[in-house]
């Protein structure tokens, strides 16, 4: 017979006000196996815990039932206390007589009756509790960073500095991301490249960081601490080890029709190209769609002119598989396609541009060497109109329902950049609301108005009519309720941000979820903002939602801290309440594998002795590291071959029986 101790907590008047503690005690004493019953005002206090510890030792208790608050509140506390008194912590059972009893009932008599039933059930279950010992799994001391923009670079540098190896996977030929395309940053107007490129170099030269550029995630397997990722390195057609980055090939390439992705199509690039001068690695890539050698079989000029013999037309994609302890997703964002916004003739007229194109047009390294000129005729504009919220806060099928967050600030920045260079240009900004929370943000935007004389107009633009060499902007000033027409030379559209188109696909590979807008979902919007629901996978930057650079960098360091914390543990402790298979009973139908949401059950062939003979048989096998103890498999198994440790079928049935008695 077990020696069970029952400890009834008053929780001040929280429980004692509605439940008759004495009656509960008396009832508990009568339950077979119960040898010691005590009560105290606050069982979770040090005094209360000592009460339990002493009773375990003095009364030689082998099971403990605590009638108190929800196990979510103090189960861990009491388990720890039991452990320190030498009792296996999983022999402790909680009867929740607060949240599920005293808090939800008024009638003391009935509440007391219910509390007694709950205690009886907990004792019935505790009687069948067994010692459980959590297992341990190792942690691969290496992190993977998906995405090589500022978020990925920052996270990788932080993790590398902590002494762990980090691999960065970047889809494009160079790291740098959107920040590399940006001219100046708000709210300080300092040069984006000046602060980013040193970090890019740091990342590429750090002994702990390894870059996989022009690469993508092919497949992800495993679990926290032990991910196994297959990386597809796309064929660059250039041998990175041999290439010196001299640039002769890109100069000589006869095919110069492709639009430069980096310059947002405002400049042409060759079929063999380096995305931008500060690219890391400084190794060209051949765009096989554009390359004459690949299209027609003729040419091959780059191969002939390359002094180091680095051109390899026959290169193929290669797959690399690597183990990681932690993964940080930092895949960033894009701007929405403006094809459907015909009222702003973006696709029709070269002088209607997006904000990202504006960045390239004002950048000293851009196609106009920083001179702000009209793409249509190369002349200096006299009037420039900015339209904010193009597709943001838009409930129609063309746009996104959310606020893109960064546009108000970068539009103010753009307006100031124009005014700084050319004070005579008239600048208009159409806005719905100006949203500038952030350190020194509102002051920044107000400076655009007050010091630079940018004309902010609360209202929207209805349509832009190209008339002659002008863009006739029809707008409204909602504050004065006047419609207005501005003959502008350029129109800059603050296109909404959006999640990467392939976010869902990557999410599926990683088993992390995306929200309705395809941004990755954090585990908790306030308290776990950089974690995902999949242990060991973290989020950084705009892939989780629109974000500016300061916020992205802050979140990146936070994600790095989480990843470092995990890698630093070296070993992970399992929750021992996982499913187990009774191989004797298991028929190997594997219905459980289809049910398991964590892919924790697989099949294995074992040998069993049957009537003196060795027989092979297929049975289910639970990976204890992956099992989350949800119990879905146990109810799927017809024969009851699966059972959840700590919540065995017979324990649950004993509880039910005890309540029904």
């Amino acid at each position: 017979m077990q020696r069970i101790g029952v400890f009834v907590c008053w929780c001040g008047t929280n429980i004692a006000g509605t439940v008759d503690i004495d009656q509960v005690k008396q009832a508990a004493e009568k339950i077979p196996g119960v040898v010691n019953v005590q009560d105290y005002q606050y069982m979770c206090s040090e005094v209360g815990q000592n009460l339990i510890k002493n009773a375990i030792k003095e009364q030689k208790l082998d099971r403990v039932v605590i009638a108190s608050c929800s196990p979510r509140m103090h189960e861990a506390t009491f388990r720890k206390a039991a452990k320190s008194a030498g009792l296996n912590p999983y022999l402790v059972e909680i009867a929740n007589i607060r949240e599920q009893c005293s808090w939800v009932h008024k009638n003391k008599e009935e509440a007391t009756e219910k509390a007694i039933a709950l205690v009886r059930a907990a004792v019935a279950k505790a009687t069948l509790n067994t010692e459980l010992v959590p297992g341990e799994i190792g942690v691969e001391p290496r992190a993977l960073e998906i995405g090589g923009g500022i978020a990925g670079i920052q996270t990788a540098l932080d993790i590398a500095e902590a002494g762990y190896k980090v691999d960065i996977i970047e889809k494009t030929p160079s790291i740098g991301g959107k920040m590399a395309q940006i001219d100046k940053t708000f709210p300080t107007l300092d040069c984006s490249a000046c602060i980013l490129t040193p970090k890019m170099v740091d990342a590429s030269t750090h002994p702990n960081i390894n870059l996989y550029t022009y690469s993508e995630v092919e497949a992800v397997q495993g679990y926290v601490g032990n991910f196994e990722v297959t990386i597809r390195q796309k064929a660059r057609s250039v041998n990175a080890d041999k290439c010196t980055g001299c640039g002769i090939c890109t100069d000589k390439c006869p095919s110069k029709k492709a639009e430069s992705e980096f310059d947002e199509g405002l400049r042409k690039r060759g079929a063999i190209y380096i995305p931008f001068p500060q690219a890391v690695p400084n190794v060209p890539v051949i765009d096989r769609e554009e390359c004459l050698k690949f299209k027609t079989g003729k040419c091959g000029l780059c191969e002939r002119v390359c002094p180091s013999g680095a051109i390899e037309f026959n290169q193929e994609d290669t797959l690399v598989t690597q183990k990681y302890g932690a993964i940080v997703v930092a895949t960033g964002y894009d701007l929405i396609n403006l094809d459907k916004f015909g009222e702003y003739p973006y696709t029709e007229h070269p002088d209607v541009i997006t904000s990202l194109e504006f960045e390239r047009l004002t950048s000293a390294a851009g196609p106009t060497a920083g001179k702000f000129l009209r793409p249509s005729n190369g002349n200096k504009p006299k009037k420039v109109v900015f339209v904010q919220c193009v597709g943001s806060r838009d409930k129609s099928s063309r746009g996104k329902t959310y606020c893109s967050k960064i546009c108000c600030m970068y539009t103010a920045k753009h307006a100031m950049l124009i005014k700084e260079k050319y004070p005579e240009i008239e600048v208009y900004v159409f806005y719905i609301d100006v949203r500038t929370p952030g350190k020194n943000f509102d002051e920044f935007q107000r400076r655009a108005v007050e010091e630079y004389g940018v004309n902010y107009i609360k209202g929207m633009v209805g349509k832009v009519f190209p008339e002659g060499d002008k863009l006739q902007v029809h707008g409204v000033d909602a504050l004065s309720s006047e419609t207005l027409i501005i003959d502008a030379d350029m129109v800059v559209l603050a296109a909404a941000t959006k999640a990467k188109d392939d976010a869902q696909e990557l999410g599926r590979k990683l088993s992390i979820s995306t929200d309705a807008n395809n941004f990755f979902t954090e585990a908790h919007p306030k308290l776990r903002p950089v974690e995902t629901h999949s242990a060991g996978i973290y989020l950084a930057g705009a892939c989780q939602g629109p974000k500016d650079i300061p916020e992205t960098v802050a979140q990146s360091s936070a994600a790095a801290a989480k990843a470092i914390g995990l890698l630093n543990k070296g070993k992970l402790v399992n929750n021992p309440c996982v499913s187990q298979v009774d191989e004797q009973i298991c028929s190997g139908c594997l219905a459980c594998t289809k049910m398991c949401p964590y892919e924790a059950i697989s099949s294995q062939v074992i040998e069993v002795k049957e009537q003196g003979k060795i027989v092979k048989k297929t049975v289910a096998h639970v990976n204890e590291a992956l099992c989350q103890g949800c119990g879905g498999c146990t109810v799927t198994c017809r024969a009851g071959a699966l059972d959840l440790k700590g919540f065995m079928n017979r324990q649950i049935l004993a509880e039910v029986d005890a309540i029904c008695l």
């Binding site: 916004f341 015909g342 008339e467 002659g468």
Partner: protein, 259 residues
């Protein structure tokens, strides 16, 4: 190619040319348009109120007849097309409207939006193809600079009409090109002509058409085509500089069937 054809009242009175040239051209193109026997006025304007059922009935009759014959329903007048297409969308998506209409009409078989209604221009684009049309042109309209005037009803609301880009359409320009003429795009080609305002608020309607004509003139349009009798009326009302015709007239001319 055979279609169920819905003409509408204006085509039988003030806009006979729109229909005449359309029918001649269809014959030349080998398209059979079978006029519905007992068609009624479409209602002229789509009933925007959610609770109006009566004014939707005649459109449903036309649609149900086409559905019963298993033919696409072809329209010519932009207004009729707008009304019938939107009513059809209601019958497809709004259970309340569908039930009430069917309760009222008591057709042999309930109508649930099965029919497809297309405009004559869509027939040219999607069923025949502008490249095929170009091959059939016997009398190319070379050296003519023609502007398309779309108006509102074919294009908007964009999701229901699903006709072309509502802000930057191209179907009529492509049509003009197929006939051998030079299409001229001018920015106001999708702005409203004033529509029925010309009945009660002539000044406003005039102001609206003026803006359109100015834009056309500025872009050196020599003649305008439209698919809507009311647009044509409004555009012609205070204008002498640019000839305005139905798109079917151009078509008949290019196909050599304009009598």
């Amino acid at each position: 190619m055979k279609f169920s054809y819905y003409p509408g009242c204006t085509l039988k009175t003030k806009a006979q040319e729109l229909e005449k040239f359309a029918l001649n051209s269809a014959a030349a193109l080998g398209v059979e348009l079978e006029e519905q026997k007992e068609w009624q006025c479409c209602g002229a304007v789509y009933p925007l109120a959610e609770d109006e059922i009566g004014t939707k009935l005649s459109s449903v009759r036309a649609l149900a007849e086409a559905a019963q014959k298993n033919e696409k329903l072809i329209t010519l007048c932009a207004a009729c097309h707008h009304v019938i297409k939107r009513v059809n969308e209601d019958m497809k998506t709004k259970d309340d409207v569908k039930n009430k209409v069917n309760n009222y009409l008591q057709l042999a078989q309930d109508y649930q939006g099965e029919a497809e209604v297309i405009h004559y221009l869509e027939m040219l684009r999607d069923e025949i193809g502008f490249d095929k049309l170009a091959e059939k042109v016997t009398n190319p309209l070379t050296n003519r600079k023609i502007g398309a005037y779309y108006g509102c009803l074919l294009l908007r609301p964009a999701e229901t009409m699903n006709f072309d880009d509502p802000e930057n359409p191209s179907i009529i320009e492509e049509f003009i090109k197929a006939l051998g003429a030079t299409p001229v795009k001018y920015p106001y080609r999708t702005e409203c002509c004033g529509g029925y305002l010309s009945l009660d608020n002539k000044e406003l309607a005039q102001e609206m058409t003026d803006n359109i004509m100015k834009s056309a003139l500025k872009n050196e349009v020599e003649e305008l085509v439209t698919a809507c009798p009311l647009c044509k009326y409004n555009l012609e009302n205070k204008n002498g500089k640019i000839a305005i015709s139905y798109f079917t007239e151009l078509l008949a001319e290019a196909l050599g069937v304009k009598e």
